[in-house]
Every structure is written in C-alpha cells, then in structure tokens.
C-alpha cells in the first residue's frame, strides 16, 4: 500500500499512522439543553463504540508522522486497499483561521 500524501507525494504506508473512520462526529449537547440523560448516553455510546465497519470505500484519518506530520483524510477501499483520494484534514498547516483565545 502506498499513500499519496497531498504534500509529500506517494510514500510507503509505514510512514503513516492510522486513526480510523473519519465519519463519527462527536455529539454536541448544550449544557442544560434539557436533553434526557438516556439520549445523551446513547449518542456518546454510538460515537465512541459503534462503527459502520464499511466493506468498500471508507473515509478515514491517516497521520503522516514519518513525513510532513499532517493529518490526512483518505478514501480507501477496505476490501482491495485501493485509494481513491487523499486530502488534508481540516486545519492542517496555517490554513485554519485564528480561533478566539489563541
């Protein structure tokens, strides 16, 4: 498996570290939103533990730690290991605007 880093070009996958499915989104509940504890727990249970575990193309996080040290999002086929796209994850480099408090 070789991964085409959008910054470094194609490299062997030993330079990269895998995080996993990029789809789960951390649930956000406002404090005192009146949400029932069960619903909040369900949402977090789903986020932390449940996986689609796709057989086919999956969006996933890779970290190019052995190269430019950027977080990337790849679309990869889990059945064939074919990569369809590799792009920078949001916030890589200086592209992300300054956040309040930084």
């Amino acid at each position: 498996m070789r991964i085409a880093c959008p910054f470094c070009g194609e490299r062997e996958n030993g330079e990269f570290t895998y995080l996993g499915d990029a789809s789960p989104k951390r649930p956000t509940f406002a404090v005192d939103s009146g949400e029932s504890p069960e619903r909040v727990e369900d949402a977090f249970y789903d986020y932390v533990y449940l996986r689609d575990n796709v057989a086919g193309f999956m969006r996933e996080y890779w970290y190019h730690g052995g190269g430019c040290r950027s977080w990337l999002i790849a679309e990869r086929n889990t059945v064939t290991h074919e990569f369809r796209s590799v792009t920078a994850a949001p916030g890589v480099g200086a592209s992300k605007p300054v956040q309040a408090g930084e």
Partner: protein, 417 residues
Amino acid sequence: MKYSIFSLAKAALSGHQGWTRAWRDPAPKSHYDVIIIGGGGHGLATAYFLANEYGIRNVAVLEKGWIGSGNAGRNTTIIRSNYGLPGNTGFYELSMKLWERMEQDLNYNAMVSQRGIINLYHSDAQRDAFARRGNTMRINGIDAELLDAVQIRKELPFLNYDSPRFPIMGGLMQRRGGTARHDAVVWGYARAADQRGVDIIQNCEVTGFVRDQNGKVTGVETSRGKISAGKVGMAVAGNTSRVAAMAGMKLPIESHVLQAFVTEAIKPLIPGVVTFGAGHFYISQSDKGGLVFGGDLDGYNSYAQRGNMPVVEDVCEGGMAVMPMIGRVRMLRQWGGIMDMSMDGTPIIDKTPIDGLYLNAGWCYGGFKATPASGLVFAHLLARDEPHPEAARFRLDRFRRGAMIDEKGQGAQPNLH
C-alpha cells in the same frame, strides 16, 4: 466410521480403498430449528455442542465458501488459558479443558499438543504484571509458573540473552498451553456434528435475513434459496459487521488484518510457544518443522485477507531482537486473516436486540484457542436463551454499561488491542 488403530490397519490392508467421506454434502432443507451462519471452527463447534449436549439435531451450518476457509485456516494454532481478567480467565480455562478431551470426544486426531507457552518479560514492571496474571490463574486452578532468567535459559537456550535493550529477565509459563492442528479442529467438529445429524452446507452464502411482521428473524435468504429457522446464530468473525448490517445492526466491531508467517522446515528447535514481551512477536514450531510466527495487526481497517510490508518488517525485527538465529531461515508463506476487533479486545456472545438472532463475534486475534468453549457457550445460549455461566460477561451491552473486559487496558481503539 469410527477411527482407531484397527480401522487404520484394516484400511491399510485393503489399500486404503475403504475410507468413507467424513461428512455428508446435503442439500439445504426448507426448515431447521437452528441455523448457524459460518462454517469455521466456532460455527461447527456450536453445531456439535447443540447436537451433543443440548439435543438439538435439526441444525444447519451455512458456509459461503468451504468449511475452515476463514480465520480457522488463517491463524497460528496457539491454545492457552493465561488470561487475567474476570470473564476471560474462566472462559479460556473452560476452553483449555475442552481441548484436553477434544480428540476423545470427537474421535479425531486434532494434534492437540500441550508443549507449553512462555511469555517473556523484560522489565521489573512487566515481571510484576506477569506475576499478578500468574497468581490470578493459579487462584482459578489454572497452571502457571513464573520462571526467572536462569530457568528460561534452560528451556530456551537459543534466545538473545545479551541484548542490553531488551534483557530477558524471565517469563510466565503455562505448561498446558501449546498448539493444535487448525484444519483438523474444523474437520473434527464437522465430522462429529455431521454424525449427530447436523447438515453442513458449503457454498451457501447468506444474502439476507427473513423477518416476520414483528421484526423477528425467522430464516435466511441464501445463494441456495430461502431457509426458515427457529433461531439463527452468527459465527462469522471477520465479517460480523457485514452480516449484521443485513439485519440493520451496527456493532462495536472493526475488521482488521493480522498477518502471520511460516518458514522452511528445520530440525526441532523451539519446544513450545514463545512470546517476546518487548515487541509484538510470538513463535512456535509446527510438527512439520516450519517456524510459525506473527506479530501486530497492520493497524488499518481491512477485509482484504492480506497485509502490507511495514508490518512484515516490524514482525521480523521483533524476531531478530529476541532470537537473532532465525535471521538465516527462509520465509515460505505469509497470510492475512480478518480479525473481528471488538472495542475492548474481548468477544461478544449474546442475544441481539433482534428476536431470533444470536451473536458470536469480536474474537479479535484470540479466536482459535477459544474454539471449543465458544461452541459450547454459544450452543448453550441458542438452546437455553440464557448465557452460559462462563460467558455471562461477554454481553453486547457491556460497552453501554461501562462493563468492558479490556485485558490490555487500551480503550476503544480496536487497532491497538
């Protein structure tokens, strides 16, 4: 046909013409009391125990390829019961006890060989952790010995004792651990289940579930037609998420690839199973003489049954660190299996929220050693609708309840278990 020294002699005298096939090749019936999806070791063992222990004989095992073509044929054949956490300790010892009588129970030579397993330790902290695990085992009536470096050197003189980086300080030994012939386990259970009336149906892929108006699973759609069933059990580790998705279920499981390797055959060298404690590497020697070894998961989700080079290098580096002499042995074969990685590294054997559908999954990379116990407790669950006492903690809802059984203390990061 009962296998014995007499049947062997008789067959030999008649030029080995008299052997009968070990199991039938039946066409699927329209209805079974229980359908097991997955003709691997676990599925076939489940069918065997259903018929043998629980008197349920109208059972079919559906296998999309040939029996034993999944992880039962893609492992490193190690059996052991050296687990430290409540839930695991008793369950794996149940399995070890079943291994010890399997060949008599099944009338089949599964080449169960209790040649011992040694987990090496390389630091004081690791020794303490192993001592605790060994004590846990002994309290539970399981054999365990904590060996020091002198004793290890006597058992395994060929290891690298001069490494300043990974000094070998000793090891935790379970003498009853060892290896078994993986294919023979599959064949033995298949033959024994078949003899008790179980239909083993190969080349029969499940393509969907049949549900009644209440959502209860009442059968399966297959590549060989619809088959109805009182209950359906899944034993498809590696592909659990795919099959569960047909029933609309999302599970705390990821599929990952684990590679293993075998070298050319050499003279008897390694007495049992040895695991390196400072890197991920374990090794044993097959009866044929090949060194069978493996290491870590590749680390990314995969259904491909093949891995990549960085892990090959990593495993070989681990081997060279602990046992430099293997550097001159040539590697013959390499394979990858799809591991059903659960979120705490421990299996799930439970009813699902869907009526009529039962789950046996999440074996991570420890499924082979569990084969007999997995079959027994899953058969118990299917027959009695309640968990076997030794599997009572392997519940599907334990993640929701916070009752994880995380032997490695890794958290919900399945590629690190």
